[in-house]
Amino acid sequence: MQGSGIEVLFLGRNFLRLLEGLWVTLRISLIAVLLSVPLGILFGMFMTIKNPITKAISRVYLECIRIMPQLVLLFIAYFGVTRAFGWNLSADISAVIVFTLWGTAEMGDLVRGALISIPKHQYDSAYALGMNKIQAFGYVVVPQTMRRLIPLTINLTTRMIKTTSLVVLIGITEVLKVGKQIIDANRFDYPTAALWVYGAIFLLYFLACWPISMLAKRLEKQWR
């Protein structure tokens, strides 16, 4: 057994375990994205309301979430809030909550940006054609914002997938954790296991995110 050590990946259920670990992060990210997108759209619309109070509220929310590292948010949610209020939140649920809060803030800011990038004259010419506010929004503003938003949303999804690797620190056995276990278990038989296992994880992340990035790029080109 003096090979390169790559065999460690295929020992027993090792590779399957890595895939399962990846699925844990992907599942958290996808649930968080699915929740963040609609909430973010509402939040983005909320942010464009011209009212000092709503502006202040959205500002505070956005800045709090953005200034704080996601890791701190995770710790607050999982170790802080659950213990302080005696809630029995699982690590998975805490992670989904934190990443949804984060995704909503990010998505909201993207939506706000897309909405205010629609020139005022687009509204004027819609109104001048007799459209009411809802029609102008539905037929003129939303289709244009969608085009700007879809590539950005896809990028947000890949960022979400990468960032959710942090959940390992609140005890969720995701792909990195599984990798560590494999490396530790084979420390003596396969001293080079770390290279192969982390290499495989790199590849798995790449395969998960790359098609998504390509899709974003293509849509961006198509709608230019």
Binding site: D124, M131, Q144
Partner: protein
């Protein structure tokens, strides 16, 4: 031109904050009449047009279209706006729709006409402005002059009674100005009631039944185009016209040297 008053503005005052943009405007536009509003930049010409279709709410005064008041309250204003077409300086076609869909969007969604009916009319109008072959193109594929002609067609497809033109050639390259102005001249010949804000003096003189000269939010002079351009009565109108006579003064100076 008939005697029937189509658009009547009385005592119109519009303020933005402490700035009074329009300071008591009275103006009557008869059916089939072409009124050109002239004046230095910032004199309130565009604001006057925007008030006429309720894009801005007047602080005081009334605007009547066929005797119905234009106020900015919801349902009524959207019905009135269908009778007043407006074309803007920056064309503002909808970039996500092709030309024919740009034109038929409002007739179908607002006036609830059938797609077929709207498209037939749109094609007729496009043919009139010489753009039939562009109906499937997207706005970004058109030149400025073509976009502006489409914008005019888009407004016309709502079958308006009055058309408002807000400096529609100001953003165009000089060689494209003509094609847009020709469309407007043709409209005027067909008896469309029009209120035009423009900086094209020759065109103003050719198309107008009446010139309204605005300065500092007030109508300073209101007269026939020939009278206005050859024999303006007020000093401010003279000064304004002088700014367009630059070339002439220079050639006179050359002769003197």
């Amino acid at each position: 031109m008939e005697d029937k008053v189509q658009l009547e503005v009385t005592g119109l005052v519009k303020k933005f904050g402490d700035d009074t943009i329009l300071d008591g405007i009275d103006l009557c536009v008869h059916k089939g009449e072409v009124v050109v509003v002239l004046g230095p930049s910032g004199c309130g010409k565009s604001t006057l047009l925007r008030c006429m279709n309720g894009l801005e709410t007047a602080n005081e005064g009334t605007i009547l279209l066929d005797g119905e008041e234009i106020s900015s309250d919801g349902k009524k204003i959207t019905q009135l706006r269908q009778k007043i077409g407006m074309v803007f300086q920056s064309y503002d076609l909808f970039p996500h729709k092709n030309i024919i869909d740009n034109i038929t969007l409002a007739p179908v969604k607002v006036q609830k006409r059938t797609k077929k009916d709207a498209e037939e009319q749109a094609e007729k109008l496009l043919a009139r402005v010489g753009l039939s072959e562009k109906k499937k193109a997207f706005p970004r594929e058109l030149s400025g002059g073509q976009k502006q002609r489409v914008a005019i067609v888009r407004a016309l497809c709502m079958k308006p009674e009055v058309m408002l033109f807000d400096e529609v050639t100001a953003a165009l390259d000089p060689e494209m100005v003509r094609e847009v102005l020709d469309v407007m001249l043709e409209l005027a010949e067909q008896g469309m009631t029009m209120v035009i804000v423009t900086h094209e003096m020759q065109f103003a003189r050719a198309i107008a039944d009446r010139i309204v000269f605005l300065d500092n939010g007030k109508i300073v002079e209101e007269t026939t185009p020939d009278e206005f351009f050859t024999n303006p009565k007020t000093q401010r109108a003279k000064d304004f016209l002088h700014t367009f006579a630059y070339e002439k003064r220079r050639s006179e100076n050359n002769n003197a040297v």
